[in-house]
């Protein structure tokens, strides 16, 4: 059972990381346009601005 000392804090840290990521995404405005975000995911990528040199 000593393993709990490692596993429980680890689980909480993972959860905490998720929360921090959520708060960051909220702050950077990623929930401002949910309809648009749904479409952007399937939209074609923008054509390259500069001609790609390598092939």
């Amino acid at each position: 059972m000593e393993i709990l000392v490692i596993l429980v804090p680890l689980a909480l840290m993972l959860g905490g990381a998720g929360l921090v990521a959520f708060l960051w995404s909220l702050r950077s405005g990623q929930y401002d346009d949910l309809d648009g975000a749904a479409w952007r995911a399937i939209a074609d990528d923008e054509p390259p601005q500069e001609a790609p040199a390598k092939r």
Binding site: M1, L4, V8, A11, L12, G15, G16, G18, L19, F22, L23, L26, Y31, D32, D33, L34, D35, G36, W39, R40, I42, A43, D44, E46
Partner: protein, 729 residues
Amino acid sequence: MQVTRDFSHYVREAGEGVQHIDLAVEGVHCAGCMAKIERGLSAIPDVTLARVNLTDRRVALEWKAGTLDPGRFIDRLEELGYKAYPFETESAEVAEVAESRFLLRCLGVAAFATMNVMMLSIPVWSGNVSDMLPEQRDFFHWLSALIALPAAAYAGQPFFRSAWRALSAKTTNMDVPISIGVILALGMSVVETFHHAEHAYFDAAIMLLTFLLVGRFLDQNMRRRTRAVAGNLAALKAETAAKFVGPDEISQVPVAAINPGDIVLLRPGERCAVDGTVIEGRSEIDQSLITGETLYVTAEQGTAVYAGSMNISGTLRVRVSAASEATLLAEITRLLDNALQARSRYMRLADRASRLYAPVVHATALLTILGWVIAGAAWHDAIVTGVAVLIITCPCALGLAIPTVQTIASGAMFKSGVLLNSGDAIERLAEADHVIFDKTGTLTLPDLEVMNAASIPADIFELAGRLALSSHHPVAAAVAQAAGAKSPVVGAIEEAGQGVRATVDGVELRLGRPSFCGAEALIGSTIVDPEASIVAFSRGSDRFVLSVRQGLRPDAQAVIAALKARNVGIEILSGDREPAVKAAAKALEIPEWRAGVTPADKIARIEQLKQRGAKVLMVGDGMNDAPSLAAAHVSMSPISAAHLSQATADLVFLGRPLAPVVAAIDASRKALHLMRQNLWLAIGYNVLAVPVAISGVVTPLIAAAAMSGSSILVMLNSLRARTSSREIV
């Protein structure tokens, strides 16, 4: 005369040499539009940001300060095929957005805490029935407390604040039992953990907050969206005026930047955006949006003009006056204020439910404690059971029952072209059983139509349309549009107040007053419609007469029939003259109608119906309808309505058809039905769960299962509001 466009009112500094403007854009509805607009705008040099918000139908633009004129973006969008208008975010909308974000943050914290506490609770539940040591259990409980207490303190703020506000005002609301339940559950759990007890309710308390925050967030999001749409509507109406900035120089400026005393130019075919007095010029104006009267009124020096009037023939200079100076407006404003005050505050379904709920639940918990003490249980055990009753009855499902339906129903209405101005509009619309229509601009379309186009040879009609393109007169514009004319006739000359003439292949063409075209003789024989404006067309010696008027909305007849089929009383109250109203009522088969009605008369009629117990839906667009829109149980306006009316109406519908009225009634009735069903589901759940709680056998596991089960059931039931009803008409 030099004309400039001034957008500086809308541009704001976004720091470090970057300027920012928001534009409301019409017609953005898919990924293709988004990509097209963003690429098109980004291609302009010095633009640093061009991002479309599809939810709000807006574009945010940033560019290096001083390098670009914002007018260029609007022109670029026009080239791409989108109409865009500069946009000013209202402070109310900013507040709604901030509140929405705060709730989402609370929800994130609560959801995080729920998941982690649940991770600790499940070992305890399974350990309790197997081989868990008491020390391990205590350790897990203390860890749960470590997560749940700060999380609840943060995520519970919306409820605690609202409950505190209610209590300091010596009233109660839904948040009072919620706050009491959460705080007691947490407090009891800490005490129990101290005493090495088997059960703690940290998970139940924090899960409750999570579910309730979902409901709260949905509710707030709907309000935010309504605000955003209202903001766009204001921008799409493009309220600008041509203001004189020098003796011979005018600038197109937003209405917000115009002050009393300024002088604005009103050209033929333009809608006046301000209230004021004519100081120079002579014209006819169409005041149908203000009075419902479709006949034109003469405007000359000294005539008062109101925002919403359409200038017909001549150019006018108008001195802007403060709103209250204009007598007609003052009268309407007074009636409107009275109506708004008299409007008894509607008790929303949620408020009615919570008013019944809180006392019942608190009494049950108290009786449970007393009952167990009398039955000989220890105080500690009795209180634990009482708190368990509070936890299990906490209005989880009740808090979700209404906002979830409202959100989904308003989304469905949005799709069928109806926007909500207020949250409880759905409930009130569902109760409506009598509809009063205004005629001008509501049953009829605000734009003019050529009524006898079919009786005129197609080539002649097209020629007339092309000639009409050279005139600003609204009647000419209607002819041009009906004929689908694209290329104007070369060398056309407009004679003010008479018409347009041109010579093509040696033949003279004329379009205008019958006398201008020598067609007086034709009028008596062909046109009998008292409401129509007559415009004549001549080619050489051939003469034709066109009858132009406001037509009924294309589906008006079908909509009236559909309303009758729904057992709704229908009548017309119009400020227009009797023959015009009579004709419309006859065409639509509405037996009850009254013409020449003043705003005060309309209110009197609504009051009379109210006394009889009818719930009136008022549908109107004119400024003269604004007071009655406020007086009615619920009200609707078309998008073309006067500013004041649109702001007063509970719902606004888009487009030319009248069908959204029926669609909205159907959707709201269905939504109300689902709300009631949800409330019954929530009550049914309590009827099952409360006896279990009173008998003292509730474990945290049962509480968690019951709470999430009922919440999910209610949410799933609400989703049914999305399925749009069959064909409306």
